[in-house]
């Protein structure tokens, strides 16, 4: 006699799973914002006049992009307390997601900034705009429009990556699933359902990002 599927454990624990989804969304949004901040600061540092700062940013990008997230989060999990930062696992996970996503965001945003024609920046200065105004109005917004698809794609990847944060016991969907699994031993039923929940989350995000794009970036360029 084979194994009897029993999805009732999933229904019994459905509220917990939904809270887990919210945990994943919260973790991911916080990670996205941190990634954006690191991305913008990184682009400025990457284009600075100071040689060692530029090289530092390049080294940061290469190291993050060529090592696994799992190793990064373990490293941060043990290294942050050494720096005197005693943080709970969820905050550690947000930092890890932000640092990881930030490295990718720097390269994406830099591509967008480079797509802005030099003459536009000069025109901005000629109009008497301040340096920060030129950056915000003439560089950042059109650049954001250009990079929006790859940036939001990266954000969805970040959301999927957040499942790895279970390894430091952050509060999110995968760690909730692992707890239910260890209580009920219904591994397949639980993980199958959670996979579908993740699929729903990435679908929702894709739809939301597309709606935002229509709202803010659908102005004519010529």
């Amino acid at each position: 006699m084979g194994y009897q599927m029993d999805f009732s454990v999933v229904f019994d624990h459905f509220p917990q799973l939904l809270w887990g989804c919210l945990g994943t969304l919260g973790l991911s949004f916080a990670g996205m914002i941190l990634a954006l901040v690191i991305g913008v600061l990184g682009v400025m540092a990457r284009g600075s006049q100071i040689g060692w700062l530029r090289r530092l940013v390049i080294a940061f990008i290469e190291i993050i992009r060529n090592t696994p997230f799992l190793v990064q989060i373990f490293f941060l999990y043990f290294a942050l307390p050494q720096l005197g930062l005693k943080l709970n696992p969820t905050v550690t996970a947000i930092i890890a997601l932000g640092v990881n996503g930030g490295a990718y965001a720097i390269e994406i945003i830099r591509g967008g900034v480079q797509s802005i024609h030099r003459g536009q920046v000069e025109a901005g200065f000629a109009l008497g705009l301040h340096k920060t105004q030129v950056f915000r109005l003439i560089v950042l917004k059109p650049a954001l429009r250009a990079i929006y698809p790859s940036l939001t794609g990266q954000f969805i990847m970040l959301t999927l990556t957040s499942s790895i944060c279970t390894s430091v016991a952050a509060y999110e969907l995968t760690s909730v699933a692992q707890r239910i699994e260890s209580d009920t031993f219904r591994s397949f039923e639980v993980y199958f359902t959670v996979t579908l929940l993740y699929l729903a989350i990435s679908w929702m995000l894709m739809t939301a990002f597309a709606a935002i794009s229509r709202q803010y970036f659908s102005y004519p360029t010529r």
């Binding site: 799992l70 990064q72 999927l160």
Partner: protein, 216 residues
């Protein structure tokens, strides 16, 4: 008992590295071949087949790799297939790679001018020969930068096998870390090993891309 991170511990990391490399090679080769089938089915005449493949790809690209690993790992046991752990995780990574490499192959095949297929058909070449002698050699060349880039993702992805307890490089790092109580040193070394594996591939991928961009 306090162990110092020495030669024996480093050697243990290297046995983990062996499995990381093996898993990556199996998944890349298996996923590459399966990916060809995915790409062909994705562009087939039959709408049902095309839609099934779109769903297949959407599931693998829209869910976490870790979940795919869990579902395959525990699912195989349920359908009565008893496999060693390395084979179960290798299957999961292969399936994931087939979806990603399948999309890369498809992009490359569709980037070829239609005239290539038409000329091959006009010459009376059968389908297999058309693919093997005309389409694939050119498409694989176009796909190179993206495929090498995906190889980096794959190598990093195999670290997730550590979470189901399979001893590859990341899991070996966890074990050594808890023996030596020197997590920062150990994960630093583990990260450096992954880096020395992935960085050359990333540079190679970027160089190929620049070369093709220049060639037009």
């Amino acid at each position: 008992m306090n162990v110092v991170f020495g030669f024996k511990e480093f050697a243990f990391l290297l046995t983990g590295l062996k499995w990381t490399v093996l898993l990556s090679l199996i998944a890349f080769a298996g996923g590459g071949i399966m990916g060809l089938l995915v790409a062909v089915a994705r562009t087939a005449q039959s709408a049902a087949l095309r839609r099934a493949m779109i769903l297949y790809i959407a599931v693998f690209q829209g869910t976490p790799l870790l979940m795919q690993l869990f579902v395959v790992y525990y699912g195989l046991g349920l359908v009565g297939i008893q496999l060693p752990a390395w084979a179960a995780v290798a299957i999961a990574f292969t399936l994931n790679a087939s979806a990603f490499l399948g999309e890369i192959w498809r992009g490359a095949i569709q980037a070829l001018p239609r005239g290539q297929t038409e000329a091959a058909t006009a010459l009376g070449l059968p389908l297999v020969s058309r693919l093997r002698d005309v389409i694939l050699p050119q498409a694989l060349r176009i796909a190179q930068p993206a495929a090498v880039g995906y190889a980096v993702q794959l190598i990093k992805g195999t670290s997730l096998a550590a979470i189901v307890g399979f001893i590859e490089l990341a899991r070996a790092g966890q074990i050594v870390s808890s023996q030596t109580f020197a997590p920062i040193l150990v994960f630093g070394v583990v990260g450096a090993i992954y880096f020395s594996l992935c960085w050359p591939l990333s540079l190679y991928s970027a160089r190929l891309e620049a070369k093709f961009a220049a060639a037009g």
